[in-house]
Amino acid sequence: MIEFVNFHLIPGLVLGSIYALGAIGVSLTFGILGFANFSHGATMTLGAYFALTLTWATGLHPLIVLPVAMVLTAVVVLGMDRGFYRPLRGSSAVILVMSSFGLMLMLRSAIQLIWGPQVHALITGIQRPYIFFDTLRISPKHVLIIVSALALMYAVHWLLTRTKTGKAMRAMSDSPELARLTGIDTEAVIRATWIVSAALAAAAGTFLGLDSQVETQMGFKMLLPVFAAAILGGIGRPYGAMAGGLVVGLAMELSTYAWIGTAPLVSPGYKSGIAFAVMVAMLIWRPSGLFRGRVF
């Protein structure tokens, strides 16, 4: 039981929170811009590297420099939209997806060019875990990740329900054409969407870096689970994405638990396949997702 909680449940929640943040961004851009953004993983990687550099430069804890990393990431993403997505605005989804695929590679290779391919640790030193009830162990960084992720999710909720821009984002997700006919400044909403998506991606990347390490492939490895989470929650449903992220993260971590006998149910090497299996199952059974998002 203890092993279950310490080595499967808690990592599942941590990973789930990270995926949730990534999935909200994907769900928003999918719903408002109308395409699956394959470069989102690379954005997460970029955020992690910005946090890494800022940590090196200032000596501060990654979570303190995270806001700056989020801003920097948002600036880059806005530039990407300006240079590459905006000229293709209104094109079919296929073209936008292809463009995002290309941007994924461009962004990743730019990161490799600038920072090199080495692996880095975001924080150094050994962390003594908190111990509850003499048996429950949870490391401080896991607490930080989960709490910060929840805070960010609440911030997204507040943005979407209390601000004019947030409501306009939801409106545009419902119907881009009606939004235009209502006089909503769709380009402003699109910019806001990219900013929110990039900021959350930066946070997700930083948290992942905190949890494991910072390396150039980290975003790509997260891409499929994040897409799975977004589809699971329903495209264009940010709240669904939050739930979807948690489900995918938990499913992945819990799948390697020895449910039957002593060996893991699913071999750890195939852990990322779980996310994919979840996604395909959703696409076949209920493409609109658990929370009935857009099916297109």
Binding site: R180, G183, I184
Partner: protein, 237 residues
């Protein structure tokens, strides 16, 4: 009569095909103008032309004398032209109140007084203000759509088949509402399938067939016209 909205010799379509051929129509101050015609006549298309949603090959569109041809939809809205499309005319996942708020998006001032006025006009909306608009009945959704368009106190209101898919009881209510809105001073341009009821409240009407002007006259005159009666008023209830 001052012209609030004028389409002059407008031709165009969505892609390669032209749907409208040399269409002209006007809406005067305080008028209710109706466009009727068979399916595929281009009635809704004529309305969408106003919002720059068409590829225009020819023609001009003027609002109170100023040219608005090919202006993007958001600009047209900012000039005071509000539109209720036939379908997808509300944001289903936003609450009723949020829908109305979005209607007021381009307003710089406080929209709350106007919101109160809209609730006064459509009492059921005040009751369901916190419900997701998509959960409302057809008639209530139409109220949301119209209320949303009215949040800007528009210079002219464009309605695309406002009674489509509604029960006879609601149809009557909608036409009453339209008359009421017009009575408060807003000119209305309306596309309608229910020609008889629409013409009954119209000052003037245009008949479009195959994307072209066929006939136009005052509302009463069209109602009395035997040719019109045969074409449109026999079938429509």
């Amino acid at each position: 009569m001052t012209k609030v909205l004028e389409l002059e010799s407008v031709s165009g379509g969505y892609g390669e095909t032209e749907i409208l051929h040399d269409v002209s129509l006007q809406v005067g101050d305080g008028e209710v103008v109706v466009i009727i015609g068979p399916n595929g006549a281009g009635k809704s298309t004529a309305m969408k032309a106003v919002f720059g949603l068409l590829r225009l090959s020819h023609g001009t569109i003027r609002l109170k004398g100023a040219e608005i041809t090919r202006m993007p939809p958001q600009e047209v809205v900012r000039h005071g032209v509000c539109y209720v499309p036939q379908t997808a005319n509300i944001f289903p996942n936003l609450t009723v109140e949020e829908n109305l708020e979005m209607g007021a998006y381009v307003r710089e001032d406080d929209f709350r007084p106007r919101l109160a006025e809209i609730y006064a006009m459509f009492p059921p909306l005040r009751e369901r203000r916190a419900s997701a608009a998509g959960t409302l009945s057809g008639g209530q959704r139409q109220m949301v759509a119209m209320g949303k368009a009215l949040m800007l106190d528009p210079t002219i209101l464009l309605l695309d088949e406002p009674t489509a898919g509604l029960s006879p009881k609601f149809r009557g209510e909608i036409f009453d509402t339209i008359r009421h809105i017009n009575g408060a001073g807003t000119p209305i341009l309306m596309v309608e399938q229910n020609a008889k009821q629409a013409l009954a409240i119209a000052d003037r009407g245009y008949i479009l067939v195959d994307g072209q002007n066929r006939l136009d006259d005052t509302g009463p005159a069209l109602l009395a016209n035997p040719e019109v009666a045969e074409m449109f008023l026999g079938g429509a209830s």
